[in-house]
């Protein structure tokens, strides 16, 4: 379980680590995360040399390769500012697994120090920025899917829904078995496609059954999976990264 974290006061500057999925597939979500932070009066530093946190190789067991890639990210955050990650999965990798991955190596202390500055976006907006949102969007029913890594690895089941609750026009509906995995799991979806498909099918059925018109998630892996399933079935029910949804409705 994530140890209790003492949240700092709102800083003047933060780093943003955009993640490779956002970089390649959902860049707008990354930019919207930056906009949300900037609106809070924070200067955002986006290190140009960032690539990937190393998680795909890490969960596949290729730890030498994962460590090499993770090591390339370690030096991107030299100043003591918080590092904001708009993904529970990459955030969990950097906060929880970097110290494990570098244990016993010369960069262990640095990895621990970087890990201690990692915040998932919604966590940071709620607990550090104490953000107040003003909704300008239309009334709609929305379901939130919190990724398993945000929920369990980072202990952040509440922060996404807490932000949505601030949006006056949004009626948050809860799908059955909300805490159950959507079946993405990175390479799991490729190695065990049928099991993964059965999981995402149940997830999309539950979101529909809850009466949602739209769904949001804080992880692009889940978005790709759940959204891809809805799209494949030509459903109008679409999904969005929470950063984009929040920005869209409040700007």
């Amino acid at each position: 379980m994530t140890p209790v974290k003492l949240y700092p006061a709102k800083p003047d500057k933060v780093y943003v680590f955009g993640t490779c999925l956002i970089d390649l597939f959902y860049p707008e979500a990354g930019l919207d995360a930056i906009r949300l932070l900037e609106r809070e009066g924070i200067e955002v530093i986006f290190p140009d040399d960032q690539t990937c946190c190393g998680q795909p190789a890490y969960t596949s067991g290729y730890h030498d390769e994962a460590r090499a890639v993770a090591e390339a990210q370690l030096s991107l955050f030299p100043e003591p500012w918080p590092i904001i990650v708009p993904s529970g999965s990459c955030g969990g990798m950097m906060r929880t697994h970097y110290p494990q991955l570098f244990a016993g190596t010369p960069r262990e202390a640095e990895a621990r120090e970087v890990a201690s500055r990692i915040y998932e976006l919604t966590e940071f907006l709620v607990h550090v920025c104490h953000v107040r949102l003003e909704d300008k969007g239309r009334t709609e029913k929305v379901a939130m899917h919190t990724s398993c890594s945000a929920r369990r690895e980072m202990g952040l089941a509440e922060t996404g829904p807490a932000l949505l609750a601030q949006l006056g026009g949004v009626e948050l509906v809860e799908q059955a078995r909300a805490a159950e995995c959507c079946g993405f799991g990175g390479t799991f979806a490729v190695r065990h496609p049928e099991v993964s498909a059965a999981m995402v099918e149940d997830k999309t059925l539950a979101i529909e059954a809850a009466g949602a018109e739209h769904f949001v998630t804080s992880d692009c892996g889940c978005l790709m999976n759940i959204g891809g399933r809805f799209e494949h079935q030509k459903k109008s029910l679409g999904g969005e990264h929470i950063a984009s949804y929040l920005w869209r409705r409040t700007s």
Partner: protein, 478 residues
């Protein structure tokens, strides 16, 4: 007896078949939903996290002192009149039990529920020697009648619904076809009662073996455990070497965690504490009590300070009840004695990674198992560790390490590594990928059978950020 065959090598085929069987899907979904609700509701009376922390620490302390505690257990059991036997593997354990049976001229064995006896295939071994072994736990009894293996470690017949059970009992024991659960339970009880009276030997498992007192604790609901361990003239308890705890006072917290995590019960109907054979002047109880301590790969797990956590397990089954994969494919699909998350982290040590190579990868690493495990086993971390062993980047101390390493995959990860450690090339390639998106395959393997293919964005985040900065420098928003 022809037992229905499932193997870990055929995981994919078995998963395919289970997923296509609406009855199996419905039976497991209903049962697991019920078990999850029961567990959640029962833990309102304790502070769950405090109790889990305590449970984990008790198990860790026992493991830290394991060799000494096992010696202490042996000494205290012997003092109490319980004879202790050591078995290096399942076959040795089977041989010990068979020889004990043969020494008494035993022809029939009645069994309380024991997963270790499943692990070592005791029933088949005894039958080959002409000794009949009959399961007395209701679920195990049904599974045995149906010539199957258990599909869950706590509820062996959870894959069967009432109608299927009625059919099996009708077929094999001649009872009426019915939906009346009480009728079927009473019938099974009557059938088993006779067998308890006539059995020569009772074989049971052990939930906790207490080193300081030489006491064997057995948790159960049906009373079959008490009958098995008290009615026949000889009782043989068989268990893994990791089941030992240091003190008697370590038992209540573990027991509280076990029953709540497993079935959502505050207590079970029976809690047996076995500390000796029948003493002079006593009117009942077995004349002989034996304890068979089975290693079967456990001391190898014990040597590795990460894998060691696997041995904390108290076999509650909560990890499978909460597993989204287990819920969908059921227990038999795994093809191993222990299914679900605990099976995935334990069976590779018993069968080797070659036979079980599809098990550690059959997880989305969602962490539901680790979240509910009463002794806080970091199951997802152990799955990742086994994946690492399978691709040959671990410490090499799991049998079959390196079996999944292949040149193509290594080359792919190496190219990814190169790209992700050369930022300029990465930016170039993500920009190029964006421009070439029209050429990207619209079918990325199995993904697109169920979902639309992910679309590469026109512009990477790197490029968007650049434009955003420029716009800000010029004084406007992007």
């Amino acid at each position: 007896m022809s037992v229905q065959q499932f193997t870990p090598q055929a995981f994919h085929r078995q998963a395919h078949e289970a997923l296509g069987d609406p009855q199996i899907r419905a039976n497991f979904r209903r049962a697991m939903d019920g078990l999850m609700t029961k567990r959640r509701d029962v833990f309102t009376d304790w502070d769950l996290e405090t109790l889990r922390e305590l449970g984990a620490n008790i198990r860790l302390r026992a493991l830290a002192k394991l060799p000494d505690l096992l010696e202490q257990l042996e000494t205290n059991c012997q003092t109490n009149g319980i004879r202790v036997h050591w078995a290096e593997d399942g076959e040795a354990a089977c041989r010990i039990i068979r020889e004990l049976c043969e020494a008494r001229g035993a022809k029939s064995v009645i069994k309380g529920k024991s997963m270790v006896s499943e692990e070592m295939h005791l029933n088949a071994h005894l039958e080959a020697a002409g000794i009949e072994a009959l399961e007395s736990d209701l679920g195990e009894y049904l599974v045995q009648l149906n010539e199957q293996t258990p599909s869950h470690i706590i509820m062996p017949a959870i894959h069967l619904n009432t109608d299927e059970i009625s059919e099996i009992m009708h077929d094999k024991t001649g009872t009426e076809r019915t939906r009346d659960v009480d009728y079927m339970t009473a019938a099974a009880r009557a059938q088993l009662r006779e067998r308890f009276m006539s059995a020569d030997v009772g074989v049971s498992g052990v939930n906790f073996a207490v080193a300081e007192t030489g006491t064997l604790c057995l948790v159960e609901n049906e009373g079959n455990g008490r009958m098995t361990t008290t009615v026949p003239p000889m009782h043989i308890a068989v268990t893994g070497i990791e089941k030992v705890v240091e003190h008697l006072r370590d038992v209540p917290p573990l027991y509280a965690l076990l029953t709540r995590s497993a079935t959502g019960q505050h207590v079970t109907t029976y809690f047996n504490m076995i500390s000796s054979p029948r003493k002079p002047g006593e009117h009942d109880g077995p004349e002989e009590v034996h304890l068979v301590l089975v290693d079967n790969g456990r001391s190898n797990i014990y040597q590795d300070d990460e894998l060691l956590d696997t041995l904390r397990c108290i076999r509650c089954g909560a990890c499978m009840n909460h597993c989204p994969v287990y819920t969908r494919v059921g227990g038999h699909t795994y093809g191993t004695t222990y299914p679900g998350p605990i099976g995935k982290i334990l069976m590779p040590h018993m069968l080797g990674l070659e036979a079980t190579k599809d098990l550690p990868s059959a997880s989305s690493l969602c962490g539901a198992c680790g979240e509910v495990c009463p002794v806080k086993i970091p199951i997802p971390d152990l799955l990742v560790r086994l994946r690492k062993e399978a691709v040959g980047e671990g410490r090499g101390n799991v049998p079959g390490a390196g079996v999944k390493r292949n040149r193509k995959e290594v080359a792919a990860w190496k190219s990814w590594q190169w790209l992700a450690t050369h930022p300029a090339a990465w930016r170039g390639s993500t920009a190029v990928a964006g421009k070439l998106r029209g050429l990207a395959p619209s079918r990325v393997g199995p993904w697109t059978e169920y979902r639309s293919a992910p679309k590469l964005a026109k512009t990477s985040l790197h490029a968007l950020v650049k434009a955003h900065r420029r716009a800000k420098d010029e004084g406007g928003e992007s």
